[in-house]
Amino acid sequence: MIFARNILRHKLRSIMTILGAAVGIAIYVAIVAITNNLENETQKMINDYNLDITVQSKGAPSPLHSRIKAKDIAGLQGMPGVRVDPLVVGAIRENWNSYGMLMGIPASLKSRFGMLEGAPPTSGSRDVMIGSILAQKLGLKPGDSIPFGGDSAKVVGIFSMGNRLVDGAVVADLTEAQKQLGKEGQINIALVRIQNKGEVKSVVQEINRRFPTLHALSNADFVGNIRLFRTIGTFTKSVAIISFIGSCLVVTNTLLMAVSERTKEVGILMAVGWRPWLVIRMLLAESLTLCLCGALAGNGMALLILKLLNNSEAVGFGWIPVVISQTTFLASIGVTLLLALISIIWPAVILYRLSPVEALRHE
C-alpha cells in the first residue's frame, strides 16, 4: 500500500485534490440527475395518461411554451376515431412558491388522478386540488385555502400520481386555469387517444398534414423531441466537459507535484532496476484512489446540492429529485476512471523520458 502512504503523507493536498475532482463530479452528477429525471418524469406522466399521441404547437421548445388555438382544438376533436383531452399548463407566481406549476384539466381527465383525500374540483368552480408534495410542504388538507391568482382558492382534494412534477402542482378546472395563466381559449397540449392502436403512425401523419401549425408525436417519440430537453442536454454536456477539464487539471497538477517531489526517488527505483512503467503504475494507483475518493465525495455533494435545490422556493418545491440513479452513479465512476487515466498522461510522459542519472541528481 505504498500509494496509500504517499497519499496520506500529504493529507491536505490529497484532500484538496479529492475536493477538486469531487466538485467536477458533483456538478456532472447533479445536472445529469436533474435532466434525466425531468425526462423520465415527463415520459412517465405521458405514460400515466395512457396516451397514444401528443400534439403541441409547431416549433415550441417545450409543452410549457406551446399554444394551440381553439379552432385547432375543435379540428382535432372532430377527427374520426380519436379522443382528444386538452391540457393547459404553466407557472404561477404566488407567495408560497415563486415558480408553482398550475395545470388545467377537463372533466374527462379528472378520474385519472389518484385521490388521497377529497375530490377533484367541479367544472366551472374556482376550487383546486393539489399534489401530495405541495400539500406536505404547505401543510394543507381538503377544506383549507391556498393563495391563488390574487385571491385564494379552496383546496378540495389532494392527489398523488407518483410523479414529482405533477405531485408538486396545483390542478384546477381547465377554464379557470386558462384564465389564471392568461391563455383563455388556448391550451398547451392536446392528449390524443385513438381507438385503433395500430394506426398511431398514420394518425400522427394525418394531424401533421391537416394542421400545419401543430406538431404531433407518438407517445414514444414525445420526450426525445422536446427541444428544451435537447437544449438542456447540450448544456449539460458542455458543463460536464468543462468541469471534467477542470478536475483533470487539478488531479494532473497534484500528480505533477508528486513526480517533481519524488524525482530522486524515481531515480533510485530506476537504479535498482525498475522500469518507468512500474513507477507510473504506482502513480496510477494514487491517481485512481484520489479520483475514486473524489467520485464518492462528488456523489455525496451532488445529493446535497439536489436536496438544497429540492427545498429551494426559487426552483419550486419538490421538482428536483434527491436521488442518484444507479446508471448515473456508475457513469460518474466511469468518468472518474477516465479522469484518472487522462490526468496521468503528462506525468507519465515526464517519468518515461526521465533518465536515472538526471533523476538521481535532482534536488
Binding site: I2, N6, R262, E265, I268, M270, V272, R275
Partner: protein
C-alpha cells in the same frame, strides 16, 4: 581473465562541454574489492554510473564476463540482476518501509511479494535491522538507513556492487561499520565491489586502489 573490463571509456557532456572521462581503461577480477579515489569532479561517480548502466558512455566499452553490457538485454534488467548500488545519501524511497526499500530490486525482477519480503527480512536481519523492518526511512537514523541501503544492494545477489561514497555522510564510527558490513556480506556472496571514496582509511581496506584525476586514471 578479467571479470569486469573497462576499455577506453569516455564521457563527454556536450551541453557543458565537459569531458568527464577520458579513455579510462582498467579491469577487475571476480570478487575483488576496488577503491576508486580522487578529488571531487574527477569522474568517479560518472565511471560508476557507466558501469551500472545508469548512463551511456560517449565511446569505449564495458564488458562483464566477456559480454558487453548491452548484450545483457534491457538496461533495467541488467541493473536489477547484475548491479547493487549504494549511494552516499542512502537514497531510500520515503513512502516505503525499510523492508520494502530493501525488496525494491526484487520487484524489478518480478519476484512475488512473499518471497521478496522473506529475502528482505533475511538481509535486514544480517545488517541488524530486523526490528526496524516496518519503519519508514524518516523514522530511523542515518546510519540505519545506510545499513538498509547496503542490504538493498545485496538482496538480489548481484555480481557487482557499486558504492558511491557510501560512508561520506556518516561519522567515522558509523561509516566504518557500514563499510565492514558491505565488505563482509559482499565477500560472502562473492560479489565484486567498486567503491568511490575520499576516505583513505577505507581505501586501505580494499584489495586495490585506483586513483583518478580529471577523468583519467593516474595510478
Amino acid at each position: 581473465m578479467s571479470f569486469l573490463k573497462v576499455d577506453r571509456l569516455s564521457k563527454l557532456y556536450p551541453r557543458d562541454n565537459i569531458e568527464a572521462l577520458k579513455g579510462v581503461t582498467f579491469s577487475v577480477s571476480e570478487g575483488e574489492v576496488v577503491a576508486i579515489m580522487g578529488p571531487s569532479g574527477c569522474g568517479k561517480s560518472t565511471l560508476l554510473n557507466m558501469i551500472g548502466a545508469l548512463d551511456r558512455p560517449t565511446s569505449g566499452d564495458i564488458t562483464i564476463n566477456g559480454r558487453l553490457i548491452r548484450e545483457y538485454g534491457p538496461t533495467h534488467l541488467f541493473r536489477a540482476r547484475m548491479i547493487g548500488f549504494v549511494f552516499q545519501f542512502h537514497h531510500m524511497v520515503s513512502g516505503m518501509t525499510l523492508a520494502e526499500n530493501v525488496a525494491a530490486p526484487l520487484v524489478a525482477q518480478g519476484i512475488g511479494k512473499h518471497e521478496r519480503m522473506k529475502r528482505a527480512m533475511e538481509l535486514l536481519e544480517n545488517v541488524g535491522l530486523e526490528h526496524r523492518a516496518h519503519f519508514l526511512p524518516s523514522r530511523v537514523s542515518g546510519g540505519e538507513r545506510q545499513r538498509a541501503a547496503v542490504a538493498r544492494s545485496l538482496v538480489a545477489t548481484p555480481k557487482i556492487i557499486l558504492a558511491d561514497e557510501p560512508t561520506g555522510n556518516l561519522d567515522s564510527f558509523a561509516g566504518e561499520a557500514v563499510f565492514q558490513l558491505m565488505l563482509t556480506h559482499s565477500r560472502d556472496k562473492g560479489a565484486t565491489v567498486i567503491i568511490a571514496t575520499h576516505n583513505a582509511e577505507i581505501a586501505s581496506l580494499c584489495d586495490r586502489t585506483i586513483t583518478m584525476r580529471d577523468g583519467c586514471i593516474i595510478n
